[in-house]
């Protein structure tokens, strides 16, 4: 990753590190640390989705399902089998990745809309299984009393500890993603995105790279789900349905799908919107989400980061990013 990204990363890290201290100064917003823990967890999902949407040009509507697989793997393996948290987490990530591979290999051979529909179908199936397998998952009411995250004798306990743990994972994931983008795979992905046929004829195995990114996005989602399960201690199927998959997509879109920073900015912003500021709308929530999604897709396809002047967040000129999008 380039020097510019390291500088932004450093700035972001300082801000994130100071954030709990900053909000502690104001009583009314001191609970924002809790919101930021969720934002960090969702950021992990959105980083993977952003790679898939922005760089592989594919949409997955099963991210909430992979998130749920991670959460339930952690929940079931730690409560019913006494697994170590870390092992349970790794198991969830492996299962998710394997399923993504199974779904991805056939549907990524096909044109654009097939992965979207296949993942939508798969997401609904996961939700039905979560609701039906009452003995394992607790059915529609879910599972409770998932033990705290423990590594050896060390337990992540309390909001502040969770905050720093989650965001440390987010930064590691971010650096990992930047490295992917600057590797052979990343260059291939950009070539695919710009001119798939040309890339293919140059010998880039486009389908194989897309599958890899899809698997990676599923693994990230499962990792996030595992953290989520341990943090909230109880899970139920309604956090992992189609609406949540659409929300993750919305977060990526709002921030800007062609920038990993966009994914994080969008996620943090939309988490605050969803958990804090949109509460007044209550019933209207779904309508507001639809409207935001439509407006962003039609009028601001580059997301918020495309509004930032200059080339701070962008590597390329904007027309290369969504040239074929947005009805321009």
């Amino acid at each position: 990753m380039g020097r510019k990204n390291w500088l932004i990363l450093l700035g972001a890290a300082i801000f994130i590190a100071a954030f709990p201290w900053l909000v502690a100064q104001f009583k009314a917003i001191s609970h924002y640390v809790d919101v930021m823990v969720f934002a960090g967890i969702f950021s992990l999902v959105c980083l993977g989705l952003s790679l898939l949407m922005g760089y592989a040009g594919q949409i997955s509507l099963a991210q909430a399902a992979f998130f749920g697989i991670g959460a339930y793997a952690s929940g079931i393996l730690t409560t019913k089998f006494g697994f170590n948290s870390l092992v349970a987490m790794a198991a969830g990530m492996t299962i998710s990745g394997a399923i993504a591979w199974l779904v991805g290999v056939p549907s990524l051979r096909l044109k654009g809309h097939y992965l979207a529909m296949a993942t939508m179908g798969f997401g609904v199936i996961v939700n039905i299984v979560l609701a039906e397998e009452v003995n394992w998952t607790g059915g529609p009411s879910g599972m409770a009393d998932i033990p705290p995250f423990r590594i050896g004798t060390f337990t992540i306990d309390g909001e502040i500890a969770w905050y720093y743990a989650v965001w440390a994972v987010v930064f590691c994931a971010l650096i990992f993603c930047f490295h992917i983008l600057h590797s052979r795979v990343g260059r291939a992905l950009r070539a695919i995105h710009e001119e798939e046929r040309a890339a293919e004829s140059m010998g880039v195995p486009t389908a194989r790279y897309k599958v890899r990114i899809f698997v990676l996005s599923a693994v990230f989602a499962a990792l996030a789900g595992s953290l989520y399960a341990h943090y909230v201690a109880c899970v139920n199927p309604s956090s992992f349905n189609l609406m949540w998959s659409i929300r993750f997509m919305l977060m990526v879109m709002v921030g800007g799908m062609h920038s990993l920073w966009g994914a994080i900015v969008g996620t943090v912003l939309m988490t605050f919107v969803g958990n804090e500021w949109l509460q007044v709308f209550a019933e209207l929530e779904i309508l507001v989400y639809g409207a935001i999604l439509l407006i962003v897709a039609l009028f601001l396809p580059g997301g918020i980061v495309s509004l930032v002047p200059g080339r701070i967040f962008r590597r390329k000129a904007p027309e290369a990013t969504l040239a074929e999008g947005a009805g321009s």
Partner: protein
């Protein structure tokens, strides 16, 4: 035992007719624009709820409520094309997926505001108890559903084979540029495809509501099962959609009867995934799915 079997066949064919109609809605838009409309299921939901509205609070007779509901949903389809799709003519496949998804959420949210979260019922089209055929009970509404579905298929086939508008729409599908050169107003054909598929979806919604009620969040599941029928039958194939709809409906009905009613919604989705994996061009398709 055998009466059970035939009972499941009847209910499977009934619900299969609905899936076939949803699938035809996808096919019409897809054959003209190559767009997969993720809001297709919401048209079904809107049709049912509009019919409830016209027949309930407004006390319209049922046939008039049917016509009005189909008409209103057609207007929604028109608005969708005019105000949304029309603004994104050159958008990529991915943006179009996102845009139609956004429309589906907006329609769903709007329906929730208007009709609330409770399921609504509608009177059956004809009174009288079930018709008994050697132990198998057939609800008159099932006959209505299958009959109306058959009528729509016949009318559409005639429309696309015989009428100048139908031919023009197919021409747009084949090659929009050539169609435009030949003087076909492609824009209006796209508009027509959205109105037509909204109306067919709505008709499906109206006829199923007396059987299974209707609420604001039924659209997504109906939509994706209909898509399953569309893929299984081969995208753009009307006859294929009919056969595939029947297959999905029967599979679902047998699963509910013999295996588990909780998993009946998953059957159609598993078949959708299998179709995508094994035969993405569908049973009757032309093989254009592969890139």
């Amino acid at each position: 035992m055998t009466t059970d079997f035939f009972q499941y066949i009847v209910s499977g064919l009934t619900i299969g007719a609905i899936y076939a109609m949803v699938a035809i809605g996808y096919n019409i838009i897809y054959s003209v624009t190559e767009i997969i409309n993720f809001a297709q299921g919401e048209f079904v939901m809107l049709g049912g709820l509009f019919a409830v509205f016209f027949a309930g609070p407004l006390h319209f007779p049922l046939y008039l409520a049917f016509v009005c509901a189909v008409g209103m949903t057609g207007l929604v389809g028109m608005a969708m094309d005019r105000f949304v799709i029309g603004r994104a003519r050159n958008a990529s496949v991915m943006s179009l997926i996102i845009i139609t998804l956004a429309v589906s959420i907006i329609l769903k949210g709007g329906a929730m505001l208007w009709w609330g979260k409770d399921p609504h019922s509608l009177a059956a089209f004809s009174t009288g108890g079930p018709i008994r055929l050697g132990g198998v009970a057939i609800q008159p509404q099932a006959l209505w559903i299958i009959g109306i579905c058959a009528l729509i298929i016949i009318a559409l086939t005639l429309f696309f084979r015989k009428s100048i508008y139908g031919q023009a729409m197919l021409a747009c599908a084949n090659n929009p540029d050539a169609a435009r050169l030949a003087g076909i107003p492609v824009k209006y054909m796209v508009l027509l495809s959205f109105v037509l598929s909204a109306m067919i979806g709505a008709a499906a919604g109206v006829i199923i509501t007396p059987v299974s009620m209707m609420e604001y969040d039924r659209g997504a599941l109906l939509g994706i099962k209909g898509f399953g029928a569309a893929v299984l039958g081969g995208l753009g194939q009307f006859f294929g959609a009919l056969v595939a709809g029947a297959i999905l409906g029967l599979a679902e009905s047998f699963c509910a009867g013999y295996l588990s009613s909780g998993y009946k919604d998953a059957v159609a989705l598993v078949l959708l995934l299998l179709a995508l994996f094994l035969k993405p061009e569908g049973l009757f398709g032309s093989g254009e799915a592969r890139s």
